[in-house]
Amino acid sequence: MSNDDRITLECKELTKTYFSTEPPAKVLHGIDLAVRTGEFLVVMGASGSGKSTLLYSISGMDRPTTGSVLLEGRELTSLDDAEMSRVRLTRMGFIFQQAYFLSNLNIQDNILLPALKAAPGDRDAVVERVDALMERFGIGHVKRHGVTQVSGGQLQRASICRALAGRPAVLFADEPTGALNSSMSAEVMNALTDVHGDGATIVMVTHDPACAARAERVVFLRDGLLVDTREQGAWTAETAKQREDDLFSWLSSNGF
């Protein structure tokens, strides 16, 4: 629902080379990409095309080799580790393929962890907000449960709650349904679509055309280069089937 022309996240001439291999592996070859405020953007491409590398480079988890990354107009590549961590804490949210949680904390504590760290003096308000998020995504009843006591879908929805608890400017999702069966995948994608409906900016990497169909824009990466872009407008349940088919033919034309 990108009703805004403002740019939240932007990268210019971004390259990434891994020097740990022999010879060094150049994975990104100069990517220019701008994510509009409130946009739901999906990055697709074959395995090894550099999707995840792009995601982690623009989110500050990895340091790009050259190029610049701007979040809300602020250059990220020149920040030191502590400043970058602060940006991730307060302005970014992450959802991974596997739901990484601390097994010695319950679900609620896991969600609270970054939010409490960001606003230690505001505990009551943070707890209230997290409880509301958990209710909204249907996991309020398992908040005291351990990580091993809930389903994969519930865990991934907990990931979404954790990512949202800090009110981020942008939400990064790396194959969030990759480890789930189709019904759990649908649960998670519904949740993400819901969040996007509230105005969240989302950058998602996925293999799954059904998930990608939810996005407003799909970019296609091949061998570290952005080779194609597809604008597909806002998603509705009624047009879902048609969008998936169209997207599939577009992907086929890109050799996916």
Binding site: M61, L102, Q149
Partner: protein
């Protein structure tokens, strides 16, 4: 068919072996750091085990060989002054168990009366620094030979002298040097022809040493005067098991000379073996600790390997490989590593044992290297190998319980029941914590503590290892500082003092004693002057009256500890531990003694520890100024006075008194033992620190690999690398501190009794060892160093987290 069977069999074996070897090789090269750390610890263990066993074997066989060649007496009695030879002959004729006996005449000179000079270079000096008695003797005819360095029996010609090997070490005397002995009539010049080893007086605890000269020179020096004549009556028995009874018989015979020390054969052996045996025991003890540490680590690494490779193992089980084959595959690596460690450790041990037994070789001569010398360390190493592999095999036994489906689908080494149990544990743990109710404070610290609690089963390795390392470092050091402490003299049955003057039996000993005591009491440079007389009482033993050496003096203010009871008052007697044991007496019991035939009943006032003179002594309150076998005067130096000057002054004024500064006396008496223990302490110190560093690094290396995804997640949600590093370092520091503190506390409390009971077993007259530690060193500097070493490992490993791409952590 039968022709083909062996071929196919050998083919299978080759394939299997080569797969196991290839797997081992790949794994060794892939996990270089972890495997290297494990090998280092295994090498340490193998090295110490081999060194300890080699030292023991070398000491014992050198001593055996030396004793065989030198034929030391089975019982000897020293004596000064007049004696009746006819009585000794009578005694010998009455005792058929005597194989041979002799009276060795000796001329005793003060160290200051002996000087040496090297005419070629003009170098020279005197032996004044030596505090032990110098006795000039001729070679014996039948037994108790002084041996030269080749193990043969030298017989010097006129003008030649053989010097104790210890003096070559101490003063650098060489063959060809001139030795000048000051006699009453002038200087007797002798040329150093060689060096001799002495089966009686080689030991560090011996207070005298023998020089070998010709019959002619002996006669000349004897006639020239200036020496204190002394004899040793020596006996070889037909059977060494008769020594105890023989000693009793000798001591209960009134007519025999016995105002000096008496030494039975067994004591000679124990005392000789003590110093080097102590080091060997310390090394073996250290090795066992290291083997324990190596095993803990191997177990930790193996369990980690099983968890990491559970899917592979599941696949192997799925295609039908038997458990034995799978564990054999993994075990091959540990076999290779342990074998390599044993070989390397064994080779290093050859050099170390050579170094540690250097003094043994000087004093006793090097024993032949025979089959046993090789077998002993090899067996010790085989023990290490078999033990380590057996434990590894046990841990790999877990493979049997791994279920294929759980392994392949969930990547879990646990079966359903174990998985359920673990989940239940987690649930319980999770219920007890709540960040929602967490009242603020440091979130990082909180997470670190939660981790420690949840992963306690893994982290406990660090405190255990640090505990063992602390014990390993502290015990030998405490033993060393105890032996070097001036107060250790109290274990030698003497009060603490700055100087002592010994007056041995001579014609005018009573008069000299009176003069000396008067002079010292009047001296403003001395205070706290206490005189003790060594009186030969008699008491009833199993076979009649026997000698009881009693120090008589004023014990009311004597600063010496009693392990039970206290100092003797009038009508009381205090006994050394070994005497109390010998006569089966405790505080409050009565003992019948007699002096000059006059019996009296005394009450035992207390028991003290004494390691000198075989540990058999007693103390009685009183004043004796005539008729004693010897006298000792102890005194403290007054503030401002110089001990060395006073010693020199009194040695000049009273030539027949042996005046010694206590500190030097202690240092020289115990120097071999302390040197040996110092070596052991240095070695264990280095190993303790090394182990702390290596193990913490190894543990963290594996731990960090396992925690990568967790760190990646924490990094994504906003924890900086520095915070993650601080968490790991904090956890490590906590684990390291807990282990080190517990280890130091144990070394100070339980360790003391462990070391004490080991010494008590040695039968040296110490039953209750009280450490005299250097608290700043062992309870502050050592723990701090150990903690620093452990922490350094954490710093080293965690600093490599900086600069890493965090996404690589998430990818596992």
């Amino acid at each position: 068919m039968s022709l083909h069977a062996p071929e196919s069999w050998s083919f299978t074996v080759t394939i299997r072996d080569s797969i196991a070897l290839r797997y081992s090789y790949n794994d060794l090269t892939r996990n270089k750091g972890v495997n290297l750390a494990l090998i280092v610890i295994l090498v340490f263990s193998a090295f110490l085990m081999a060194t300890g066993s080699m030292v023991i074997e070398r000491v014992l066989s050198s001593m055996d060989q030396f004793f065989d060649e030198a034929r030391p007496p089975h019982f000897l009695q020293m004596h000064k002054g007049a004696y009746d030879r006819a009585e000794l002959e009578r005694f010998a004729s009455e005792h058929p168990e005597i194989d041979a006996w002799l009276i060795e005449e000796m001329l005793g000179y003060d160290s200051a009366a002996i000087a040496w000079e090297r005419s070629s270079t003009g170098e020279g000096g005197d032996l004044a620094d030596s505090l032990i008695d110098n006795l000039f003797v001729t070679q014996n005819a039948e037994f108790d030979f002084l041996l030269d360095e080749n193990g043969s029996i030298p017989r010097p010609d006129a003008g030649e002298v053989y010097v104790p090997v210890a003096y070559r070490e101490q003063f650098g005397i060489e063959v060809g040097d001139l030795l000048r002995v000051q006699t009453a009539e002038g200087v007797q010049e002798l040329r150093v022809e060689g060096f001799v080893r002495d089966s009686q007086m080689a030991s560090s605890l011996s207070q005298s040493t023998r020089f070998l000269i010709s019959e002619d020179d002996f006669a000349a020096m004897s006639a020239a005067g200036g020496a204190i004549p002394e004899i040793i009556v020596e006996y070889r028995l037909t059977d060494t098991s008769l020594v105890q009874d023989f000693q009793t018989a000798y001591e209960s015979d009134d007519a025999l000379p016995k105002n000096g020390e008496s030494v039975p054969y067994q004591l000679l052996r124990i005392v000789n073996a003590l110093s080097d045996g102590l080091v060997a025991a310390a090394l073996m003890f250290a090795s066992l600790l290291l083997v324990a540490i190596a095993l803990l680590n191997a177990r930790f690494v193996i369990r980690g390997t099983l968890e990491d490779e559970v899917r592979q193992i599941g696949a192997m089980k799925a295609i039908g490989l038997p458990n034995r084959t799978i564990s054999g595959l993994y075990l091959a690596k540990y076999r290779a590593m342990t074998f390599l460690a044993c070989v390397v450790g064994g080779l290093l041990a050859i050099a170390a044992a050579q170094m540690l037994t250097r003094t043994v070789q000087v004093d006793y001569g090097a024993a032949e290297v025979d089959l046993v010398s090789v077998l002993v360390p090899v067996l010790a190493l085989a023990f290490v190998y078999v033990f380590v592999i057996a434990i590894c095999r046990r841990v790999f036994g877990k493979i049997r319980r791994i279920e294929v489906v759980n392994a392949l689908v969930h990547g879990s080494t646990l079966d359903d029941r174990q998985t359920a149990r673990r989940a239940a544990r987690e649930v319980k743990r999770v219920r007890r914590t709540s960040l929602a109710a967490f009242g603020g404070g440091n979130l990082n610290r909180r997470l670190a503590l939660l981790d420690l609690r949840a992963e306690a089963r893994q982290w406990v390795l660090i405190p255990i290892v640090m505990f063992l390392a602390a014990v390993l470092m502290t015990l030998p050091m405490n033993l060393l500082s105890t032996l070097s402490d001036p107060a250790f003299v109290t274990f030698m049955g003497s009060p603490e003092s700055d100087l002592r003057a010994d007056l041995e039996f001579s014609e005018d000993v009573d008069a000299v004693h009176g003069d000396l005591l008067a002079a010292m009491s009047a001296d403003e440079g001395l205070e706290n002057v206490r005189a003790f007389a060594n009186v030969l009482y008699e008491t009833e033993g199993e076979e009649g009256w026997e000698v009881l050496r009693v120090d008589v003096g004023d014990f009311s203010s004597a600063a010496m500890p009693f392990i039970e009871g206290g100092p003797p008052g009038t009508g009381e007697i205090a006994l050394s531990v070994m005497n109390a044991e010998k006569y089966g007496l405790a505080t409050g019991d009565e003992i019948l003694v007699r002096l000059d035939g006059e019996p009296s009943n005394l009450t035992v006032s207390g028991v003290y520890q004494d390691i000198t003179g075989g540990g058999l002594s007693a103390k009685m309150q009183g004043e004796v100024d005539a008729g004693a076998a010897s006298y000792t005067v102890f005194a403290d130096t007054a503030a401002g006075a110089d001990t060395a000057e006073l010693v020199a002054e009194y040695a000049d004024a009273f030539p027949s008194a042996k005046v010694t500064p206590m500190r030097e006396f202690m240092e020289q008496t115990l120097s071999y033992v302390t040197d040996a223990v110092r070596n052991a302490a240095l070695l264990t110190f280095a190993f303790g620190l090394g182990v702390a560093l290596v193990i913490t690094s190894l543990f963290l290396k594996l731990r960090l690999t396992r925690d990568r995804q967790k760190m990646g997640m924490l990094s994504a949600v906003g924890f900086s690398t520095n915070e993650l590093i601080a968490q790991v370092r904090g956890k490590t520091l906590a684990a390291v501190v807990v282990g080190t503190v517990l280890g130091s506390v144990f070394a100070a409390t339980g360790g003391e009794s462990v070391a004490g009971s080991l010494l008590a077993l040695a039968g040296l007259g110490i039953v209750d060892l009280e450490f005299l530690p250097n608290p700043w060193l062992v309870y502050l500097a050592y723990p701090l160093l150990l903690i620093s070493a452990g922490y350094l490992g954490a710093v080293f490993l965690t600093s490599r987290l900086r600069g890493a791409d965090k996404s690589s952590w998430l990818r596992g």
